[in-house]
């Protein structure tokens, strides 16, 4: 447990395997495995390839949002706007392609640019003015939410052209069908996990989160780094928007209303500290899966939805408690 202090020097080195074995990912991983074991014994349907494929499909949208959220929380920030920005991006993509005359790929690109733009704007406000991330993204949540409803005229966009939903299609793997979107999410997790642990950029992100002032004095261009992180997060929300469309087959202005909190839940369950500088996107992947496994498993057992919420709440509080206690110990 004491290894969780994350001194700067240690952050450069660890391999993926070692990082998984050291806290703070150990706890979440153990919780995930325990939950899987429990549900495997409790229901016949849980332990099947099809069911696991399903869980990954169900969590891919929030999972992709949670990657961006992890990056921002690692800098000791927070992003309340991610669900709303994604919803706006999805409406832009859907409307441009279905009702506008844009070719689908161009509509997707436009959606990514719009979401990236929101991220850039968040970053600029946080860094240049500077304003607290909580406030900036709270404001941006309302801006994006309103724009979504104004632009969509409260109407669900249907009849989407094929390329928009291509990521929702499946290919067989053994006896199981996997969606392409699941692969995109997993690839993004691996890409960002690699970037955080094996590149200079990643080390700078951790250093910034541990102490922005120390990072700056060490010659890290913290301003550019922060703005970059928010922009990358925005782009990830754009990809989540595309995944959302591909999953539901419509552009829905009501979408994403609780996804900001769901993404924060996943980050916290994955062992990333809300105080910044400590955690990993692989942890977040585990956090996302914990929520997905509980929802799926309890439903398979026939437990009412409200208990899923209850258990998620208890797990979040436990996760933060573990984080706090290990911090105290480290001091």
């Amino acid at each position: 447990m004491t290894a969780t202090t994350t001194p700067y020097s240690e952050l450069k080195a660890p391999t993926a395997a070692r990082r998984l074995l050291t806290a703070p990912t150990t706890g979440p991983l153990a919780a995930l495995l325990l939950a899987c074991a429990f549900f495997s014994f409790s229901t016949d349907q849980f332990l099947t390839g099809g069911n696991f494929s399903l869980i990954v499909q169900q969590v891919m949208v929030v999972g992709t949002l949670a990657i961006g959220q992890t990056l921002i929380i690692l800098t000791a920030g927070i992003d309340l706007s991610c669900g709303a920005v994604m919803a706006f991006g999805s409406i832009v993509i859907a409307k441009m392609a279905a009702e506008g005359s844009l070719p689908p790929l161009l509509a997707i690109a436009l959606g990514l640019v719009v979401c990236g733009g929101f991220g850039l704007l968040n970053g600029l406000l946080v860094q240049k003015i500077p304003l607290p991330p909580f406030i900036v993204t709270l404001g941006m949540l309302n801006v994006a939410f309103a724009l979504t409803h104004i632009y969509s005229e409260e109407q669900t966009v249907t009849n989407l052209p094929g390329p928009l939903t291509a990521l929702g299609e499946t290919f067989p793997l053994g006896h199981t069908d996997i969606t392409y979107g699941s692969l995109v999410t997993i690839a993004l997790f691996l890409l960002l996990a690699y970037s955080l642990s094996n590149t200079g950029w990643g080390r700078h992100v951790y250093a910034l989160g541990n102490s922005a002032e120390a990072a700056r004095l060490n010659g890290i261009r913290t301003s550019r780094l922060t703005i970059g992180i928010y922009t990358v997060a925005g782009l990830l929300y754009g990809i989540a928007a595309l995944l959302l469309i591909s999953r539901t087959g419509v552009g829905d202005p009501q979408a994403g209303q609780t996804d900001n909190l769901d993404s924060i839940t996943a980050v916290v369950l994955g062992g990333t500290s809300l105080f910044g500088g400590r955690g990993s996107v692989l942890g977040t992947f585990i956090g996302v899966l914990i929520v997905g496994v509980f929802r799926n498993g309890l439903q398979l057992m026939g437990v009412a939805s409200i208990y899923q919420t209850l258990i998620t709440g208890v797990l979040v509080i436990l996760a933060v408690t573990v984080d706090q206690l290990s911090r105290k110990k480290a001091r």
């Binding site: 409260e154 669900t156 499946t170 539901t248 419509v250 398979l300």
Partner: protein
């Protein structure tokens, strides 16, 4: 530097004083406004408070109220909660409307019980309060209720599903609304009653919040739990379309019967497209229009609307079943949320 600060702070103070004075004046104005509005412009003020102003159902309701207000020479003000369940927002809206001197308030309560004290205060000041779509608890907390009979809406699709199954053994999935929300409970119970089934016959039940993505997730999990589900009851058409997407992914969309309630234009189109077998159509535009008329007639001759008015429900399907009355989607699309 210090002078400018002092200057700007005194300016601020002056602005604040002016602002407070203006507010006091307008508050006084609106306080006496209830008298002047009846004698002055002659326009009856009507308030409409919906759960949200983003749900298409409530958008239609607003359209109906606006049209009826224009036709009856009334002045309509509208408000809504920020999200479904935003009781505090609705309470604020009631208070503001009473302060603005409305003759009557039409409200779709987000929280049937929690809104009651605020409604009682408004009624004590002589304001006519009519609940639209969703009853309050107790129902007598409002002067009148204009709503769909949700139990009947459920019964109709239950009867339809029973007939469409033609004696085959049913394995039912129920995609519900949320725990304890009366609309959802009534539709669910109505469906079972119409189908002649009991809670034990439901192989898989899950809350969806009436949301398409959640409906899809729920259906996927239900299929995982009980692969041979062949009848799906859904709280509304977004949930039904989510279920359809999940079934289609399994190649089951042809042999599973989906029935629903709501009758929105998108949902009725989905019935026409064969994604949903049948839906019970309700009429929010009519609820609001009749509500506005009731307030206007109350203002003119003091006659209060009372009790429950059923605004009607129609079974919409293109595959009519013997012994079950239904209208086709041509009728449905012409009247979708009319």
């Amino acid at each position: 530097m210090s002078r400018t600060t002092r200057l700007s702070s005194s300016l601020l103070r002056a602005a604040a004083v002016t602002g407070v004075a203006a507010l006091t004046l307008t508050a006084c104005g609106s306080g006496s406004g209830s008298d002047s509005s009846s004698s002055g412009s002659g326009e009856v003020k009507v308030g409409l408070i919906t759960k949200t102003d983003t749900n298409p159902f409530f958008v239609k309701m607003k359209e109906g109220a606006e049209k009826a207000a224009k036709e009856n020479g009334a002045q309509l003000s509208t408000a809504a909660g920020k999200f479904d369940g935003d009781n505090a927002g609705q309470v604020t809206a009631i208070e503001n409307m009473v302060a603005a001197g409305v003759k009557g308030i039409l409200i779709t309560p987000s929280d049937s019980k929690a809104i009651v004290p605020a409604i009682e205060k408004a009624r004590a000041k002589g304001v006519l309060v009519i609940a639209l779509d969703t009853p309050t608890e107790p129902e007598s907390a409002v002067d009148a209720l204009f709503a769909t009979d949700n139990l009947k809406a459920g019964e109709l699709i239950g009867e339809y599903a029973k007939a469409a199954m033609k004696g085959r053994t049913a394995k039912i999935a129920a995609l519900d609304l949320a725990p304890g929300v009366s609309v959802g409970v009534q539709r669910h119970d109505g469906f079972l009653k119409g189908f002649g089934a009991t809670e034990k016959d439901v192989a898989c039940a899950q809350d969806t919040g009436g949301d398409q993505a959640k409906g899809q997730t729920a259906m996927e999990n239900c299929l995982q739990k009980e692969p041979d589900i062949n009848v799906v009851y859904t709280i509304n058409e977004p949930a039904a379309l989510g279920a359809y997407t999940a079934l289609k992914a399994k190649g089951r969309e042809k042999d599973v019967l989906i029935v629903s309630v709501d009758g929105g234009c998108t949902g009725t189109q989905a019935v026409k497209d064969g994604k949903i077998a049948a839906t019970s159509q309700q009429y929010p535009l009519k609820m609001a229009a009749e509500g506005v008329k009731a307030v206007v007639s109350f203002a003119k001759d003091g006659k209060k609307a009372s009790g429950y008015t059923d605004t009607g429900v129609t079974l919409i399907s293109d595959k009519a079943q013997d012994g079950v009355d239904s209208k086709d989607t041509g009728y449905g699309l012409e009247n979708c949320w009319g």
